[in-house]
């Protein structure tokens, strides 16, 4: 048997972070697919059937498809076009605006990329305005544009009232993230709202099940029983498939992606494809740092397979720093600091595991067990030198520790997550708890009291500026002004955390499906919400436990003070409704707070006898 140069691998490689990755563009993929006769990678489109149905209905609406570059706008346009019996040939010609007569006697205009329109071609948008304002108009549109282009294009349009009206509608749809607005014959689909965490497993499946892998069956490198050598690509594929570890890699990456989304980072399909391609093919010494079949052979030959580790590749460690940071998906995953963050337990296992009877089982399980990417010869040799104190040997070993921590993050089995404090391997120590005990629980149940208490304690510490331990009530205090002083001594009100006379604080999903801290002051005033994303959760948890993380404190701190301001505003309202006038002209009494010996907040009522 010989080494097979698989067309599929070189096709997959095109999706990776290489200088000119043509596969980023729907248009280019089509050419390659045709030439090489490869089955395309197709991920189910979320909105496609809904779109086609719309244009087949008797009263279709115009549609704007928006989203980040790589979300699949062009793909969706083409599929709609083909489904409505548009010809592929016509699709591939250079016309920027394509026309099609529909069965409902309307004329469909498709603009697959708004930014391609030249200034003189923008006139068509006036027709678009008409079709949006008039349901009986003979024309209907399908426009694809990322939202920046959309806003930009409108800037150049006229300022007649109708255009302005439609422009405002589009802006509102964009900003408020809704699909339709009454009175306008228009729908806006934002493809960026499709969750990357949901797409990622799908993409992995599609890639792993691609018939192209059959090329490998004939390859001598696939698994050589005699030499024990395995192709790193094949090794990575098997690990990603995860038949032995219940698809652990996939689920950890999905967790990370989900957490990214909480922090407001959206990753489009294109970036996810890039991630999968890099996971399988990354190697720092291959051309463009992605292996082709011949690279793989060479790497096996030179005994450098450990650098192809799928775990490092997830984080883009095979790439140059510059490339890693300029690639969205790696920049986003890089924020977790995996490999750089650690705990004593983990490092002790990695360094001293062999000689420490207590850690030995872990060491065997997590390190020795994996001779491919774990305890390979180089690692063990470096480790030995390091422990024996051979001069200048530390650097290499410490460098490889980083890779090992990265690997551990993706291989520590679920049941050991807590024992080994898995999330201490990331910047966000509470991330695991946040996902499993807060976010996923809040979707259809009640978050544990213990967690709500901790969060309320964190809030109280920020609200008052004192190291308070109160955790079953929220203490609203000011310094006379809302946010000026660091310590707030003037007690305004305490709000019960458990439900009590209309008051409560809960962590829950709100009506839009956003995770929030929700505070109710009474049934007569509106509730106040603070979106709870990972950073804030981590911040509040750490504040509650005592240690203030210096690195990300400022922004969160301001956010929480803003939240306090909103609560105070509602409190004023409640007082107005309940007719408790607090700021009476003659009244000069204050409740001044301090911490008692148990760390709880006491307040002292001070009355001043003075009138001008």
């Amino acid at each position: 048997m010989t080494i097979v140069q698989s067309e599929w691998i070189s096709f997959l490689r095109q999706y990776g972070p290489i200088p000119r990755n043509d596969n980023m563009y729907d248009e280019a993929i089509h050419r390659i697919i045709k030439r090489k006769n490869i089955k395309p990678i197709i991920v189910d489109s979320f909105y496609l059937s809904e779109l086609i149905e719309n244009y087949n209905s008797p009263n279709p609406k115009s549609v704007i498809l928006t989203g980040t570059a790589g979300d699949g706008k062009t793909f969706n346009c083409r599929e709609v076009w083909l489904a409505l019996n548009g010809s592929l040939q016509e699709w591939q010609n250079d016309d920027k605006v394509k026309e099609l007569d529909l069965l409902n006697f309307k004329k469909l205009y498709v603009i697959k990329d708004l930014s391609e329109l030249k200034d003189e071609e923008r006139g068509i948008l006036n027709q678009f305005v008409n079709s949006v304002l008039n349901p009986n108009d003979g024309n209907v549109f399908l426009v694809a544009a990322n939202d920046g282009q959309l806003i930009e294009a409108w800037k150049h349009l006229g300022t007649d009232p109708l255009t302005v009206q439609v422009k405002q509608c589009v802006e509102d749809l964009l900003v408020t993230e809704i699909k339709e607005k009454s009175g306008f014959n228009l729908r806006l689909y934002n493809l960026s709202q499709i969750s990357a965490a949901r797409l990622f497993p799908q993409i992995v499946d599609v890639v792993l099940q691609h018939p192209g892998w059959n090329d490998c069956n004939q390859c001598s490198l696939r698994e050589d029983a005699q030499t024990g050598r395995t192709c790193p690509i094949w090794e990575n594929r098997n690990r990603l498939e995860g038949n032995k570890d219940e698809q652990l890699i996939r689920s950890r990456v999905t967790d990370l992606l989900e957490l990214c989304e909480f922090n407001g980072v959206h990753l489009p399909i294109r970036q996810l494809l890039l991630l999968v391609s890099n996971m399988l093919l990354g190697h720092p010494e291959a051309k463009d740092r992605l292996m082709s079949c011949s690279d793989a052979a060479k790497i096996v030959e030179e005994n450098k397979t450990s650098l192809a580790s799928v775990y490092r590749n997830i984080l883009g460690d095979n790439l140059t720093e510059r490339r890693r940071e300029s690639t969205d998906v790696f920049a986003a995953l890089g924020k977790f600091g995996i490999g750089y963050e650690t705990s004593n337990t983990i490092d002790n296992i990695l360094i001293f595991g062999e000689d420490d009877p207590e850690l030995l089982p872990y060491y065997e399980d997590l390190v020795l067990n994996d001779t491919y990417y774990g305890a390979d010869q180089t690692f063990r040799a470096n480790q030995k030198e390091y422990l024996e104190g051979v001069l200048d040997s530390g650097v290499n070993f410490l460098e490889s520790l980083r890779s090992q921590r990265q690997r551990l993050f993706f291989v520590i089995p679920r049941e050991k997550e807590n024992d080994l404090k898995l999330w201490h391997l990331t910047t966000f120590q509470y991330a695991g708890e946040f996902l499993s005990d807060v976010y996923r629980v809040a979707k259809n149940g009640k978050v544990a009291t213990q967690i709500t208490s901790r969060i309320s304690q964190g809030l109280n510490r920020i609200f008052t500026g004192l190291l308070a331990k109160n955790n079953d009530e929220l203490i609203l205090a000011t310094s006379g002004s809302h946010s000026q002083a660091k310590v707030s001594r003037i007690f305004e009100e305490s709000i019960s955390v458990p439900k009590k006379r209309g008051e409560s604080m809960q962590i829950r999903m709100n009506a839009n499906g956003t995770l929030v801290i929700e505070v109710k002051l009474s049934s007569s005033v509106a509730t106040v919400e603070l979106p709870l994303q990972l950073v804030r959760y981590e911040f509040l948890s750490r504040v509650a436990e005592g240690a203030l993380p210096g690195s990300f404190s400022r922004e969160c701190y301001e956010d929480i003070l803003g939240f306090k301001s909103k609560l105070l505003k509602r409190l004023e309202e409640r007082r107005r409704i309940d007719e408790e006038d607090s700021d009476d002209e003659s009244d000069l009494s204050f409740r001044i707070i301090r911490l008692n010996q148990d760390g709880l907040i006491d307040d002292r009522i001070v009355e001043v006898n003075y009138d001008e």
Binding site: N146, G148, G480, A526, E555, E558, D559, G562, L568, F590
Partner: protein, 514 residues
């Protein structure tokens, strides 16, 4: 626009009239933006009481009389034993007061025949009194600073919280202008000359100048009732130009802040920041005018990146250029005399001295003998330039650097050189001033350029990139970093990779109300 410099005062105490002629009397580096704001409030309140708020009937003739409030200040800031006494005599209230009167009787300064007994009637016990004082102390402006006690200020809850910076001795006080160096007076004149005083006053009377605010009344309760605490009339401020576009821009920003929905008092830190920025721009623009430089004043801002970038260099260059500008202006301003008719007619040193005296009030009569010995009028000019620069270096020269740091415009973060690298608080102030409700991110960048000359993104940096000093990408990365920071501060809503809206949380708030 009337761009004639107003006549200088007839009597000049300073060694020369150079800094003052360009920037006014005076920009003072040791007076931080917060203290500038406090001085301003003192001026305004005093003028308000005299029925002349924001009215300047004759240019540069401001005469106002701020308060000294020595009782209040001794109690708040010259009262180190308060907590001790309060805990020692926790169960003996009578004794606590007695002990405290005794300590204060010895320790107070500046009050003749001091008597603090009025306090006992106003508080039900000493502990209450002590906790009120502790609370008010925690609102001290600029937190724990190491200034003398008579230069400490509490948060301006109302007119009764205002008093002037003083040098207090055992039985009296003088205003040595240690930290109230007239920059607040300049601010007052600028706002007066902006023509928007009436609107500003109406807004301030709802908050900082509102006597009926509860906390203001609390502070008032700490002063005895019948003690007059007015200081002598303060005069002598000089702001050179009757009209400048900058005055109005400053006033506009004040109004956007005051008229937004920011809760009571919370606008103040932003007012302070934005005032600092406008005064920095004022100082640079005046220097540019002297230098005959008509290009728009611009600042290259680095949105702090973890690594060294070309923007960091450019922004540092931009900072250094500005930092040297005032010194160059001094020299240019003096040397322009050489072009004048009267200088050309000078035949000897004495005539030259006379010309300089007329123009710059230098040298002083009693110091003439020191300069007469120079060889030529040219040497005389050189001597004067170096004297002027030495004087300039003491304070006005530092203004740009010190104030830039104070308002969070410049910093050294992550680098050795100072540069323009705005901090979160300033960014927030800018959003609140520039964005009424919601604004597309690119428009926001444009607006910052238009109003403040801030170069952040690639569109604003066109001139630089075309000259090959940096590539567009470096600037668009810079803008992206700003986008991320604003988003993390909850001031920006991002739609996709190419579109984002900057949002003013206090502009939008009302919209969300049910």
């Amino acid at each position: 626009m009337n761009n004639e410099r107003l006549p200088r005062p007839t009597k000049i105490d300073a060694d020369m009239w150079v800094d003052e002629a360009i920037w006014g009397h005076r920009l003072y580096d040791e007076q931080t933006p917060w203290l500038c704001f406090m001085e301003f409030l003192n001026v305004l309140q005093s003028e308000l009481e005299s029925g002349r708020a924001f009215v300047e009937s004759e240019p540069n003739k401001l005469a106002y009389s701020p308060k000294s409030r020595l009782y209040l200040r001794n109690i708040l800031f010259n009262n180190p034993q308060l907590t001790l006494i309060s805990s020692k005599y926790r169960y003996d209230d009578k004794e606590a007061w007695l002990q405290w009167y005794e300590v204060m009787g010895k320790g107070q300064a500046g009050i003749v025949n001091a008597d603090f007994k009025y306090l006992e009637k106003r508080f039900s016990n000493f502990g209450d009194f002590a906790s009120v004082i502790q609370f008010l102390r925690e609102t001290t402006i600029e937190g724990e600073n190491n200034k003398r006690w008579s230069s400490q200020f509490i948060f301006p809850y109302g007119p009764d919280c205002l008093y002037e910076d003083l040098n207090v001795k055992d039985n009296g006080f003088t205003n040595d202008r240690r930290f109230f160096g007239r920059t607040g007076e300049l601010l007052y004149l600028m706002l007066t000359r902006s023509g928007k005083g009436v609107q500003i006053l109406a807004n301030l009377q709802k908050s900082v100048l509102n006597p009926s605010n509860k906390f203001n009344r609390l502070v008032a309760a700490l002063e005895p009732k019948d003690v007059v605490s007015s200081s002598p009339l303060r005069t002598g401020v000089y702001l050179p130009y009757p009209e400048l576009a900058g005055y109005e821009l400053l006033a506009d920003d004040w109004l956007s802040l005051l008229e937004s929905n920011i809760p009571n008092y919370d606008a103040i830190p932003h007012l302070v920041n934005i005032t600092g920025l406008h005064l920095i721009m004022y100082s640079l623009n005046r220097a540019k005018a002297v230098l005959g430089d008509t290009n728009k004043l611009t600042f290259i801002l680095e949105i702090v990146s973890p690594k060294k970038t070309i923007i960091r260099e450019l922004s540092s260059d931009s900072f250094i250029e500005h930092n040297n500008m005032s010194r160059r202006a001094i020299e240019a301003y003096i040397r322009q005399v050489i072009e004048t008719e009267s200088w050309n007619q000078v035949t000897d040193i004495h005539e030259a001295i006379t010309v300089l005296k007329n123009e710059y009030a230098w040298p002083k009569d009693n110091k003439e003998s020191e300069v007469e010995l120079v060889n030529s009028p040219d040497d005389l000019i050189n001597m004067f330039v170096s004297a002027a620069i030495n004087r300039h270096k003491q304070h006005v020269n530092k203004f740009h650097g010190v104030w830039g740091k104070e308002i969070g415009l410049s910093s050294r973060r992550g680098a050795r050189r100072l540069r323009y690298a705005p901090q979160d608080m300033l960014l927030k102030s800018l959003v609140l001033c520039v964005v009424p409700k919601r604004m597309e991110f690119q428009d926001f960048l444009d607006k910052l350029y238009e109003k403040y000359g801030f170069i952040i993104g690639d569109k604003q940096a066109l001139e630089l990139t075309e000259a090959g000093r940096a590539d567009l990408e470096a600037f668009s990365d810079n803008a992206r970093r700003l986008e991320q920071r604003l988003a993390s501060m909850g001031l920006l809503r991002r739609l996709s990779d190419a579109c984002a809206y900057v949002e003013n949380p206090f502009g939008i708030q009302e919209e969300v109300l049910p």
